[in-house]
């Protein structure tokens, strides 16, 4: 009997290790939201996660997966940077599970748009997209010609928060059928 109990203890120990470091995670929360984006008729799932010893010290992650469960996109930041900017000052108030749940649910609820309706025109002769835009500051990895082609195709687009006052918008590249960021924008 003692041998069996010892074997159980060893098995339990080995099971827990699993080649990974165990860390305290007092803020493991999650939220999900479905969107129609990457494939017609098959919803994608946006899942947002938090993990950390406390919610004030949490790293938060945004993941988009298609209906087959294949990951399309992921983005990570810290809770504090996403909600206040920077890192928490000394004596910053604690963050409750409910506050985290509210944040994660809102983050997963992405904005669904179309490129032509939502994105600003990059006027001919203007050096950057931002100089061409009226309101926000925009960054795009594309040159003007490619950007305008993408915009004119009126592609489905999702936009998510990437910082306290910044968003990033994704499209499915018509050529590669892979997600790409078309703009990042903010004040």
């Amino acid at each position: 009997m003692r041998i069996l109990l010892l074997a159980a203890a060893i098995a339990l120990s080995a099971c827990g290790q699993n080649g990974a470091t165990q860390t305290a995670n007092g803020c493991a929360r999650t939220a999900t939201h479905e969107v129609m984006w990457s494939t017609d008729g098959a919803p994608d799932t946006i899942t947002t996660y938090s993990e950390g010893p406390t919610c004030a010290q949490a790293v938060v992650t945004f993941v988009a997966r298609n209906s087959a469960g294949d990951p399309l996109w992921a983005f990570s930041s810290t809770y504090y940077d996403m909600t206040a900017g920077g890192i928490p000052p000394e004596g910053a108030p604690a963050v409750s599970n409910e506050q985290m749940d509210t944040f994660l649910a809102g983050w997963a609820d992405v904005t669904e748009e179309r490129t032509q309706a939502f994105l600003p025109e990059w006027r001919e002769g203007v050096a950057t997209l931002s100089e061409s835009a009226q309101t926000f500051s925009y960054d795009t990895p594309f040159d003007r010609e490619t950007y305008e082609v993408m915009r004119a195709r009126n592609l489905k687009m999702i936009c998510y928060a990437a910082a306290v006052e910044a968003s990033q918008c994704l499209i499915m590249d018509p050529a590669s059928h892979a997600p790409i960021m078309i703009v990042a924008y903010g004040p």
Partner: protein, 171 residues
């Protein structure tokens, strides 16, 4: 009693198998990057299987505050090397991935040599950070691709400096 222990062992084995079927792994490494010095890098993979896993790279300062986090689908950034049948490969990858290059911002490329999109900073800010010779950490963010972040002692936080292609590859 003996039957009870045997049944418990069987349940335990079943639970272990369920856990290993997923691709949830973590590797942590101590580093010296911020002003506090006793920082750590934690890299994580998570997903139903390793061919569909997300990778997260975290830098956490000595007070337990995360100062940088980066994530991507691993197969998208590092290629078709992660299979559902080989979680050991993922664990080996995480151990390698957690090893950053610690340098100084004075070693960052000159503004004039940067390609469009390599940094999100404007020229003045980039040049200032480079001139102040701040701590810089570069981690792999793809095959033959590194992301470099700098430590800003005045703010007590880290920020993205630039991305660069490198010759070394991650297997």
């Amino acid at each position: 009693m003996r039957a009870f222990v045997v049944a418990a062992l069987a349940l335990l084995a079943s639970a272990c198998n369920q856990q290993s079927a997923r691709c949830d792994f973590t590797h942590t490494r101590e580093i010296a990057f911020s002003s506090l010095g006793a920082d750590r890098v934690t890299v994580r993979s998570f997903g139903e299987s390793c061919d569909k896993a997300i990778g997260v790279y975290e830098i956490i300062d000595g007070e337990g505050t995360p100062v940088w986090a980066w994530a991507s689908p691993l197969q998208r950034q590092f290629g078709d090397v992660f299979t559902a049948e080989d979680p050991e490969h993922m664990q080996a990858f995480l151990e390698h991935w957690s090893q950053p290059v610690i340098a100084r911002t004075s070693g960052a490329p000159d503004w004039a040599t940067l390609a469009p999109g390599q940094t999100t900073l404007d020229e003045l800010t980039y040049a200032d950070i480079r001139a102040r010779d701040l701590p810089m950490l570069c981690h792999f963010s793809g095959t033959a691709r590194q992301t470099c972040v700098f430590w800003e002692p005045a703010a007590g936080g880290a920020g993205h400096l630039f991305d660069q292609d490198v010759e070394e590859t991650v297997e």
